[in-house]
Amino acid sequence: MAGAIIENMSTRKLCIVGGILLVFQVIAFLVGGLIAPSPTTAVPYTSMKCIDVRKNHHKTKWLMPWGPNHCDKLKDFDEAVSRQIEANDIVFAVHIPLPNKEMSPWFQFMLFIMQLDIAFKMDNDLKENAEITLDVSLAYRDGMFDDWEEIAHAIEIRKLKCTFGSPKTLESEGRHYDCDFLPFMEIGSVAHKYYLINIRLPVNERKGINVGIGEIKDIRLVGIHQNGGFTKVWFAMKTFLTPSILIIMVWYWRRITLMTRAPVLLEKVIFALGISMTFINIPVEWFSIGFDWTWMLLFGDIRQGIFYAMLLSFWIIFCGEHMMDQNERNRLSGYWKQVGPIAVGSFCLFIFDMCERGVQLKNPFYSIWTTEVGTELAGLIFRFKFLMLITLACAAMTVIFFIVSQVTEGHWRWGDVTIQVNSAFFTGIYGMWNLYVFALMFLYAPSHKNYGEDQSNGDLGVSSGEELQLTTTITHVDGPTEVYKLARKEAQE
């Protein structure tokens, strides 16, 4: 037993394997492009301005924007002035979803951003670095006539970042500021049918709360959730890919244990990569359909993080195996300088993620990006997209499709057929990584053929001079496979 399959297989068979993998890759893209809808949907909501009559009646805590028990509505704030209603008596109510619709567990997650329509007024200008204090509460119910159950209640402070495009003259009064949207809420599971958000903007002049925030005309929310159709296609793909990677993993490890020597480091790393891919693949998300597991979003992030860290480590070890000295090879400790930072980086990302998504388990309105530390970290981490950038081998594909998905409108039309480009991107890339790991395991598994049987194998991308080297450098049978040695030679040159 010597050499990996990639070294011993005939060119023809290699092409066949490559062709089959390519077919699966194309299928992965087509699944997303033709079957799945776009991955996410953004639904705009405009909040209803309700008058809080709780003080007088003690009737209900929750104010509904529409429906049978809707609140006492205000058309605009001019009406509030004429009715002598104060800012503290106004509640912004948003019902999710819009009438005649229901939320579904297939949506997987919901995140909301907030947009404030602040009108310019000469004598009520927006202060520099103004902060808005929101008293927000979230409730759910599963029947149209059930009582609302509270999920969370919090008082949140958000920084307003607004610019005004026109000169600040009397003429421009009433124009809206151009404000950055604010992160508002994130929920990791959509287990209920109806949600209700009540937002209050309490004013306290003595404490300086909500003073100098201009004249607010409207509060708009945009709700983003994953499309149910996309979730279904995604789950189907996961369910299909899990056994295929699992089977090749078992097969790979059996091959390795059959050998007389102990597995080398690279082989172990490939196996670990297989494990992390399987970890991503296992479709535990099916449970989110039946259970209200809000930590699923966090769990998904962790799984993805582990895989990327593993992939990065694999690449470093793969390169290192060919460049380092003979005596330092084959030990993980030899790579601590390279793998260490990856581990530290991944750990930092994990902590950061825990800080946001972890806290959101308790308080869905929490956002790290609005805190002082968070905005500083955002310089550091937001651009620190190494997780995406390390996808070197598949980078070309990933980047091309990434750009395509950013530039285009999300779907292409070819006659009657509509192609969901964004979905194609997701399923395609996901399929690609699976195939990548699959191919890696298959090709780097020890070959059972005797070495030298397939000398016709000239398509390894090496020149004839090194081919000669190939035959002469076999010194010990159970050493690392030839490709590694060969690559090291190239690297040294």
């Binding site: 809808p37 991955p39 996410t40 949907t41 953004a42 639904v43 705009p44 909501y45 405009t46 924007p65 529409w66 605009d76 509030a80 002035v81 002598q84 104060e86 800012a87 019902h95 819009l98 009438p99 005649n100 619709k101 229901e102 995140l111 009108a119 004598d123 009520n124 003259t169 003429e171 009064e173 009433g174 124009r175 809206h176 949207f181 903007l201 004013v203 002049e205 909500n210 925030i213 004249e215 607010i216 708009r220 945009v222 983003i224 499309n227 149910g228 159709g229 279904k232 992030d301 993080g305 990302l349 993620d353 990006w369 981490i381 937001f382 997780l387 995406m388 998905s405 950013q406 779907h411």
Partner: protein, 357 residues
Amino acid sequence: MRSSTFLLLSIVGICGAVLNAAAWSVNNFLMTGPKAYLTYSSSVAAGAQSGMEECKFQFGWERWNCPESALQLSTHNRLRSATRETSFVHAISSAGVMYTLTRNCSMGDFESCGCDDSRNGRVGGRGWVWGGCSDNVEFGERISKLFVDALETGHDTRALINLHNNEVGRLAVKATMKRACKCHGVSGSCSIQTCWLQLADFREIGNYLKMKYDQAHKLEMDKRRMRAGNSADSRGATAETFHHVHSTELVFLEDSPDYCTRNASLGHHGTEGRECLQSGKNLSQWERRSCRRLCTECGLRVEERRTEVVSSCNCKFHWCCTVRCEQCRQLVAKHFCARRDAAVANHTKRRNKGHKR
């Protein structure tokens, strides 16, 4: 926006009857809609109203200042004209209706916005859970078309022009929409990104259409074929001419009348008694020339009147609903257009006129 328009109007001096007149003309919109769409009627009315308010704002310092009668004129078949100004009125009112419907959609005012049955069987038509609904804008556009275009019952060139201008207004809403995106990948990275289109401030749509008004295209018809009276022939000529017009361009048929002078039959009041801006900081070139445009060039003189205005000042504002203001007295100089002769004798008369309006 509405409050500022209102503020401006009160400065100009048009108060009182404005709202009543508006309600009257806006009701025309409601009479046309199919009965099944009664739920939309209040939004349609509000939309047409906001369109007219925007029109008033945009034409505040022009000779033609978008009187309420402009909207009525367009709906009275007998008095229809197709000037540059009516093209703007058509566009802004259909844009206003579409805008308001779209906005009210996101407030939950209607049972089915982008998710109604009309989309079944089409792309994304597999329902809300599978792939979400279509944009509310499409809904707004559809309903606006239903209501506003139904006002146009004729089949002549004017009708075609009006329908075209309605469409220009709706396209303006779409053209000014802004694309916003949110990244929500791992740790806020952009590996997953969701984008959507959102409505611009209605003022921006007004500005856009004002620009289109300035560039409006006069339709040069083959007059002889038109006069021949053969409707099929004239329709052919119209279709031919429309071929060259871009779908985002406003189109008119007749040159505007002289808006300096009062013309009761056409429903404009002339510029006599109108306020204009002469001095003051932060005025645009257009505003600074308003006195010349409204008064001098119309053969009127500029009259300065000093009035004491009591206004609230040093206010402590909350984000909504003013509290605690002081009353300030200020001497303000305003400029009005007045007739060159017998200025004193006309003074009281003009005032009355201004009030009546």
